[in-house]
């Protein structure tokens, strides 16, 4: 999914995407460069906060991870709130850089572990960033895939729709449908997502865990069993 990406950036509060980017960097021997916001060691953005956005605007960032409090079937993401705006039922942290990076980074990978109808809704309550734009809008970037704890969707930019690409071990199409509030495409025979190779799992729990613990010490300890 990150094949051929030269520069992957990972935003705030994103330990799992951070691990993925570091893993891509490790297995490509540095052919892929991972930039982890908030890290001193894996942060080649040494010129302050604006640099990530400037570099993305120039096309120097190939892949980025985003998430959403709500995500809908057209790929719209909502990081702001559920319910009426501006006085909502539930307030989320905010849009961060999504309203910009979703337009400028060619391959945006949406990542959300919780796969439920609360998250994957028919129509988001607030559009932090739209999944697609009319043709006159300058938009080199957009959604590429959506990864959840149940499955992997790929995004079709012509149809503005997700297509179910693979199921995690033990997950059925029905289970995904039951827990997804939006309609999506799929073939008759959906492939299972292949489990990660053992050497990568090992890498994740050793070298990658040590690296990510600089930025996400709580996560490294609780989810990867890392202690320094």
């Amino acid at each position: 999914m990150l094949d051929g990406c030269k520069n992957i950036a990972v935003g705030a509060s994103s330990p799992i995407p951070g691990c993925a980017a570091l893993l891509a960097q490790a297995v490509t021997n540095g052919g892929t460069r991972a930039s982890i916001l908030g890290s001193n060691k894996h942060n080649p953005f040494n010129d302050g906060g604006p640099e990530l956005f400037d570099r993305a605007g120039q096309g120097r960032v190939d892949a980025f991870f985003l998430s959403g409090g709500q995500i809908d079937g057209e790929g719209n993401i909502n990081l702001v709130s559920a319910g009426p705006y501006p006085k909502p039922d539930t307030r989320f942290p905010g849009s961060f850089g999504s309203s910009y990076l979703y337009f400028s980074v060619p391959r945006v990978i949406l990542f959300r572990e919780e796969h439920s109808r609360r998250v994957f809704v028919e129509k988001v309550d607030f559009i932090s960033a739209p999944g697609w734009s009319p043709p006159e809008v300058h938009r080199p970037g957009g959604p590429h895939a959506l990864i959840t704890s149940l499955c992997v969707f790929m995004y079709n930019r012509e149809r503005h729709r997700f297509r179910l690409e693979g199921l995690l071990p033990g997950v059925s199409l029905e289970e995904v449908q039951d827990n997804t509030g939006f309609d999506f495409d799929h073939s008759e025979n959906i492939k299972p997502v292949p489990p990660p190779e053992p050497d990568r799992v090992k890498l994740l729990h050793t070298a990658i865990a040590a690296e990510i613990s600089e930025t996400y010490p709580e996560f490294a300890q609780e989810r990867l069993g890392y202690h320094d």
Binding site: A12, G38, G48, Y85, K87, T90, S95, F103, P130
Partner: protein
Amino acid sequence: MSIPKSYLSIDQIASRIPDGALIGVPKDDGGVSMAITRALIRRKARDLRLLTVPVSSVQADMLIGAGCVSKIETSGVSLGEFGAAPNFRRAVEHGKIAIHDATCPALYAELQASEKGVPFMPLRGILGSDILANRADWKTINNPMADVQDPIVLLPARRPDFALFHARYGDKHGNIWVSGRRECILLAHASAQTFASVEEIWDGNLLEDERMVAGTIPPVYVSGVAHAPKGAWPLALSGCYDQDGDHLKMYVEAAKSEEAFAEYINSQILTSESTA
């Protein structure tokens, strides 16, 4: 190094920031002056308008919880690994503060316009978002350089009354040093006045050391400096100390109810001199 005579105390700085002021503050790894934040709470500041550059964590949450803030322009308030910002969340859900939702590069662009003295800056993206739909002050025009239809958003210059942050070093000449934290340099350039707390006193002139000059903000931008060791606590100061995870966990728990948070304010800020 002794403290330079021109330096103010943290509380003097807080007293020079009037109620109602528009205050620009950096993100939580950018040198947050928690020391001045606590002093503002001690002086019971009211109606502050916060501009987070571009996001905030415990600083915004604490000021909101203490009733100091009437309005916030931000791309996000969160305590990251420690969860949502409880006071921020509650205040927005209850409609107690006005919120201008933004996105990170738009806030930088608003400050860069102010830094350059131009009325606006263009930015790609944002089109079709509800961020844009809710911002009457952001304008969409057709790119005048293009022969075809090419909509683009313009952001207005925004000039905070005060930039407020914690820097690694200050010297007796009024210079402060923020290393590669260009968001602090941008914030100082863009704001009418800058107040900073500093972790350590630099012996010499930061402008005359070729290794320090690139990260230095000269006194033409700086209205006052206070010496405040551990001034970013419980947040980290890069190169000096890590964040205090235990305290932040305790903070988040306390902030989940108004009663527990009142007790936090009382025990940790109002009656505690050590955190000055």
